[in-house]
């Protein structure tokens, strides 16, 4: 098949890294892949992951159109960030394809997209969520209140999925909104991930200092629960003495100051490393005994850091919610967000004191992750999705026809989606999500 893969390609993009694996797997399976890189124009000259082919920038309309028009399918990698996904939003509305949904919450992407088209954005919001929600969307004073106010009321999942001919997502969490809005097939597939060499894993402490090395990676923000980790460690005399807690990833100065102060107050050994390169990140995983991938609230369709931790063979803490809840119980430790501090403390105490448990958890997690999170699996799902779209073509055509009639009469997407409207037409068969996990 001839495929065009719209994706951020820069090495700074985790989605780009995943897409590069999938691209190479598709090529290995005999498909012809064109990569359309989707970052902001200012980022289009940055280094890229290895996709097995060179990338065409999204704003090279003439060059790209030739590939798009000759393609069997277009595949869009979409996350909650306009800076990396601008090209997707420029091409997707006019050239629908498969959307690989990396975040269920797309509020930031939408906010960025709305910058030059506020009236159109308000109409989109009104159509999906009603006027009250539309009126509030642009009025939040800061990022935290924006997420709080929009993650349930207007996550914008529907906005993107309605433009897709099919959606591949990476967990069942938030799936209802996808099913309601995507007119075509919806598949749930595990993310693709690099294999991690055996020698980088292991359950025994890798640093020979008698400490239990605890690691959190990624942009340090409140939903990564770092403050809760510090408090839980501080609540336990044994953990205070034994744990060294390292943060690797971007961190704002104010956040660093407040977390440092909190750690000092609670007697916790906290190391803030900031952003590091891939090599150092791999070393950080290697040195870690336990990795915290807590998230609350959870906004992602799947967590790259949790998968990476499992692939590195590290005992992993996750919040019992969303994507993380779907991980097998014997591969991770799940923390109840309602009783978070006690849950973290008890989990860490057990992990610190019970090397057999630590070893078992790490081994099970690694084996499961290696089996599931492969580029070959993901490429297979994409091809299967393309074939499903073919089967769904008559239905999609009917949906498109009715949608254009209704919108021509001034009706909204919300009206079309109502059971009273869609049910009697019987072209919107009760959608189901296939799962390959």
């Amino acid at each position: 098949m001839k495929l065009v893969l719209f994706t951020p390609a820069t090495t700074a993009s985790a989605i780009g890294r995943m897409a590069s694996l999938v691209s190479r797997a598709l090529i290995a399976q005999g498909h012809a892949v064109t990569v359309a890189r989707t970052e902001d124009a200012s980022l289009l000259d940055t280094d890229t992951h290895d996709f097995g082919v060179s990338a065409v920038p999204w704003n090279d309309a003439r060059g790209l159109r030739r590939h798009v028009e000759g393609a069997d399918a277009l595949i869009y990698q979409i996350g909650d960030n306009l800076e990396f996904h601008r090209g997707c939003m420029e091409w997707l509305p006019g050239h629908p394809g498969i959307v690989c949904l990396h975040d269920f919450f797309l509020g930031h992407l939408f906010y960025g997209w709305s910058g030059t088209r506020r009236e159109q954005a308000l109409a989109v919001l009104d159509s999906w969520y009603g006027k009250d929600v539309a009126d509030r969307f642009f009025a939040y004073p800061d990022s935290a209140s924006f997420i709080d106010g929009t993650r349930d009321a207007s996550p914008m999942t529907e906005w993107v999925c309605a433009m897709a001919r099919a959606v591949v997502t990476h967990s069942r969490w938030g799936l209802d909104r996808v099913l309601r809005s995507c007119p075509g097939p919806v598949l749930v597939a595990p993310l693709a991930y690099d294999a991690v060499p055996d020698e980088s894993g292991g359950a025994a402490p890798s640093a020979d200092d008698g400490k239990l090395h605890l690691l959190t990676i990624g942009h340090v923000n409140p939903n990564k629960r770092v403050a809760s980790m510090i408090r839980a460690i501080g609540d336990s005399a044994s953990l205070r003495d034994r744990v060294r807690y390292r943060l690797v990833g971007k961190i704002e100065a104010e956040t660093a100051r407040s977390l440092t102060a909190l750690a000092a107050e609670r007697g916790v050994d906290l190391v803030i490393s900031g952003e590091v390169g891939q090599h150092e990140l791999t070393r950080a995983f290697a040195r870690a005994d336990v990795v915290s991938c807590l998230r609350w609230p959870s906004l992602e369709a799947a967590s790259a850091s949790a998968i990476e931790s499992l692939l590195h063979g590290k005992p992993t803490l996750v919040t019992d919610t969303g994507f993380y809840r779907e991980l097998p119980d014997d591969c991770v430790v799940k923390i109840d967000p309602v009783d978070e501090l006690r849950g973290i403390r008890m989990a860490l105490e057990r992990l610190a004191e019970d090397p057999v448990f630590r070893h078992s958890l790490a081994g099970m997690g690694r084996e499961w992750a290696r089996r599931v999170f492969t580029a070959e699996n993901y490429a297979g799902v994409l091809i299967r999705t393309i074939r499903s779209i073919g089967k769904a073509e008559p239905m999609l055509s009917a949906v498109g026809h009715f949608a254009s009639l209704l919108t021509g009469w001034g009706g909204s997407a919300r009206l079309l989606a109502l059971e009273e409207t869609a049910g009697p037409l019987r072209v919107f068969n009760e959608p189901t999500a296939d799962t390959l996990a």
């Binding site: 021509g408 009469w409 009206l415």
Partner: protein, 345 residues
């Protein structure tokens, strides 16, 4: 020419619009055309189901048809390159009844969205139609007011005028047609209770629901009218219905805010019978004019009792009013050949 008459269908409900469509087809054939009717199911309750039915009609494709004559919402949304509307009904609950707070559309934004949807779809349909006629002045005025469309009134002819030759005035007022609350036959019974003892009333026609019949029977019993009122509540053979009209002294027809002249009134006039109606009966007043072609009074039992008494007080006057009603109807000049010609223009 191959002509398709497109109308709504509410299964097992048969009324004036259905009769009209049937006779239109018959008269198209008589005029030398091939003609058939297409009836499209429509259920207006719950109103939230209306959009899907609009979409279904719009999705239908017609072929082997030279000309379409469409009569009602949403059937008239059907697509055809040569479509003429003979508008019997817009969906009034999205127009004047909406404004009057008498709509079945949901309250709030959803109802407003469905109202706008109906209006926009209508507008699109009207714009693509070859000609638009309405069945009455009321319908024409509503179309002009809400849609800005100038249409011409084309009243439906009486389907079988030969049956309504008139005859000797009998001793009863006849109230015919469908029996339901909107047609207000019950109000005539209340009036009969205080009308003179010589007054007689015959109510004959199919009740919409058993409760409509029960309501009338209960009123006759309660008001002690059994010896002066006859209830013949069923779907009448056409000749039976015509005999009731021809042998009556006058015909009472007092629907609430009817769009059209109304078959009952047109057939009464054809038979030379004066028409007794009420001031809020809408299109009927195009034919029923107080003191000219009958009596038009306030929709109260007392006023109607007075009008019923007038029917029997001066038979000569009653007969003259009937003749005037016939002359008024004939002056409108409505017949099937010219109607068919207009609809195929």
């Amino acid at each position: 020419m191959k002509v398709l008459v497109v109308n709504n269908m509410a299964p097992f409900v048969w009324g004036g619009a259905e009769e009209l469509a049937t006779h239109l087809v018959r008269n198209l054939v008589l005029a030398g055309h091939e003609a058939e009717s297409l009836r499209i199911p429509f259920q207006w309750e719950p109103a939230t189901r209306i959009p899907s039915q609009m979409l279904m009609v719009r999705a239908l494709e017609l072929w082997n048809v030279d000309h379409v004559i469409a009569l009602k919402f949403p059937a008239y949304l059907i697509r055809h390159a040569r479509k003429t509307l003979w508008l019997l009904h817009q969906y009034r609950q999205a127009y004047d009844l909406f404004d009057a707070g008498q709509t079945n559309l949901p309250h709030g934004p959803q109802g407003e969205e469905i109202r706008d949807l109906i209006r926009n779809a209508d507008q699109e349909c009207f714009a693509e139609s070859r000609h638009i006629y309405t069945n009455s002045e009321v319908t024409r005025a509503r179309l002009a007011k809400y849609n800005g469309i100038a249409a011409r009134v084309l009243p439906p002819p009486v389907n079988d005028p030969e049956r309504f030759a008139g005859g000797q005035a009998g001793n009863y007022v006849f109230a015919g047609g469908r029996v339901n609350g909107m047609k207000r036959q019950h109000l005539l019974l209340e009036a009969m209770a205080s009308a003179g003892r010589e007054a007689r009333l015959v109510i004959a026609g199919p009740p919409d629901h058993p409760a409509d019949a029960e309501r009338l029977r209960e009123a006759v019993e309660r008001l002690g009218l059994a010896d002066r009122v006859e209830l013949d509540l069923r779907f009448l053979p056409r000749e039976t219905y015509a005999r009731y009209v021809n042998e009556s002294a006058a015909v009472a027809y007092l629907p609430f805010d009817e769009d059209s002249l109304g078959y009952v009134a047109m057939e009464a006039a054809t038979a030379g019978k004066p028409i007794l109606s009420t001031t809020d009966s809408g299109g009927v007043l195009g034919l029923a004019r107080h003191g000219e072609t009958g009596w038009v009074v306030e929709p109260t039992a007392a006023a109607l009792a007075g009008a019923i008494d007038m029917v029997f007080r001066n038979p000569m006057r009653t007969r003259d009013l009937g003749e005037a009603a016939r002359a008024s109807w004939l002056a409108i000049g409505v017949d099937w050949p010219s109607t068919v010609e207009m609809l195929l223009k």
